[in-house]
């Protein structure tokens, strides 16, 4: 393994590892199992030159998709092993209503892939129904910063959804 190769791995981890881990825990509620999923996702990205050549945002969105699929695979094989339900784990495209579930999962994944500061303003402003002034108070940042984070954050989200084929 070359030093360059190793540097790429560390850079991948630094850029995406922690947020990927949080997303997996969010999906599964299982911090212990999340390490394995993050590890496998990193490995796949690291071994795919085409993925590494992409813009960081595309690499990230690809890694989140890989991680989600690993979680789904894991859930399926667990179900095969035990023949019991696995809670509300997503299983896209199998049953009625799963299209909506799948769509919400894609939105969730795109949101989880944003930087924390961008995600925070969008969640407070949209889902929390807060005004700019309220978001600024909650996060202890100036109102101008809230507007500009919303501006960049919502654009990044739109880009991520475009890549997933959700919007034009």
């Amino acid at each position: 393994m070359s030093q360059d190769d190793d540097r790429r791995l560390v850079a991948l981890y630094d850029a995406h590892g922690p947020s990927l881990w949080r997303y997996v825990v969010h999906l599964t509620g299982d911090p212990a199992g999340a390490d394995d999923i993050v590890q496998e996702t990193l490995l796949r990205a690291w071994r795919s030159p085409r993925i590494l050549e992409q813009e960081p945002a595309s690499t990230r969105s690809w890694m989140f998709t890989v991680a989600r699929n690993l979680v789904i695979d894991e859930a399926r094989s667990a179900r095969r092993r035990h023949e019991i339900g696995v809670g509300e784990l997503p299983d896209p495209g199998r049953e009625d209503g799963t299209d909506q579930l799948f769509e919400s999962l894609i939105i969730e994944e795109a949101l989880a892939g944003l930087d924390f500061e961008h995600r925070a303003v969008i969640v407070h402003a949209y889902y929390g129904g807060c005004s700019i002034a309220e978001v600024a108070r909650r996060l202890s940042i100036p109102e101008g910063t809230v507007k500009s984070r919303l501006h960049y954050g919502l654009r990044a989200l739109r880009l991520a959804l475009q890549e997933k084929g959700v919007t034009r």
């Binding site: 393994m1 190793d6 791995l9 981890y13 630094d14 590892g17 922690p18 881990w21 949080r22 969010h26 911090p31 999340a34 993050v38 590890q39 990193l42 490995l43 796949r44 071994r47 795919s48 030159p49 085409r50 690809w62 890989v66 699929n69 896209p92 495209g93 199998r94 049953e95 299209d99 799948f102 919400s104 939105i107 969730e108 949101l111 924390f116 995600r119 969008i122 969640v123 402003a125 949209y126 889902y127 929390g128 807060c130 005004s131 700019i132 002034a133 809230v146 507007k147 919303l150 501006h151 954050g153 919502l154 654009r155 989200l157 739109r158 959804l161 890549e163 997933k164 959700v166 919007t167």
Partner: protein, 232 residues
């Protein structure tokens, strides 16, 4: 461009998400009347609230919570595990090559045998061929079987090796997408295409066979369509 544009340049998202105060909203709407650039960005962002609405507020707000035992950066043990696993798979891959060559021979026999089995009248199975859309050395075929919950899809997808090219470390995530006559597009499965290897996978669609307009194989990274089923 409107001379006041710089004051309003980053108000677009706040406006679209309904977060501006009533006074600011009026001010921004007045500006919109005279500024093409801002009108354009508002138009671009206008689908976003509808998309965000598909996720519940509970799930979205949970994305701001820090799970217990959050992973710190850097994480030496995990990185070491990735390095070890990377080395192990590189070794194994050389051995896999030989096995895959044998598997390819089996695929050829299967490709001949499946259409013959379809000539039996009692079966409802449908063999689907694919045509290449993008320039990739990929061949694929699928069998669709009607089942009570929709359609079972069995897909074989082979990525040929190109003589003289070394693909040792390459592989790409591909996705199988089902397009319905009603215009819906559903990704039903993903896998990694590796030169010299055949992926055999089984997927399902809630759509009945006669509601499936076509199948596509896409590159996950770019969304590009690589192969499309040929209408039979």
């Amino acid at each position: 461009m409107n001379p006041n544009h710089s004051r309003y340049a980053d108000w677009d998202s706040a406006y679209v998400l309904g977060a501006l105060s009533p006074a600011e909203r009026r001010e921004y709407e007045e500006h919109l009347e005279t500024c093409d650039a801002c009108r354009r960005s508002v138009a671009e962002l206008s689908p976003m609230p509808g998309l965000l609405a598909r996720l519940s507020a509970d799930r979205a707000e949970a994305l701001l919570e820090e799970p217990e035992g959050a992973m710190s950066s850097p994480h030496p043990a995990l990185l070491d595990a990735v390095r070890r696993e990377g080395r192990r798979r590189r070794l194994r891959r050389t051995r896999m090559r030989i096995v895959l060559a044998a598997a390819a021979a089996v695929v050829v026999i299967a490709a001949v045998a499946v259409p013959l089995s379809l000539m039996r009248p009692a079966t409802d199975r449908q063999l689907v061929a694919f045509e290449t859309v993008a320039d990739r050395p990929v061949t694929a075929s699928a069998v669709l079987t009607p089942v009570e919950w929709g359609t079972r899809i069995e897909l074989d997808c082979t990525y040929e090796t190109t003589p003289g090219e070394d693909h040792a470390e390459e592989s790409w995530p591909y996705a199988l997408v089902v397009i319905g006559h009603d215009g819906t597009t559903t990704e039903v499965s993903t896998w990694r295409a590796t030169p010299g290897a055949t992926a055999r996978l089984e997927a399902g669609s809630a759509l009945p066979v006669d509601q499936i307009a076509s199948l596509e194989i896409r590159a996950v990274a770019t969304g590009d369509v690589l192969m499309r089923s040929v209408a039979g």
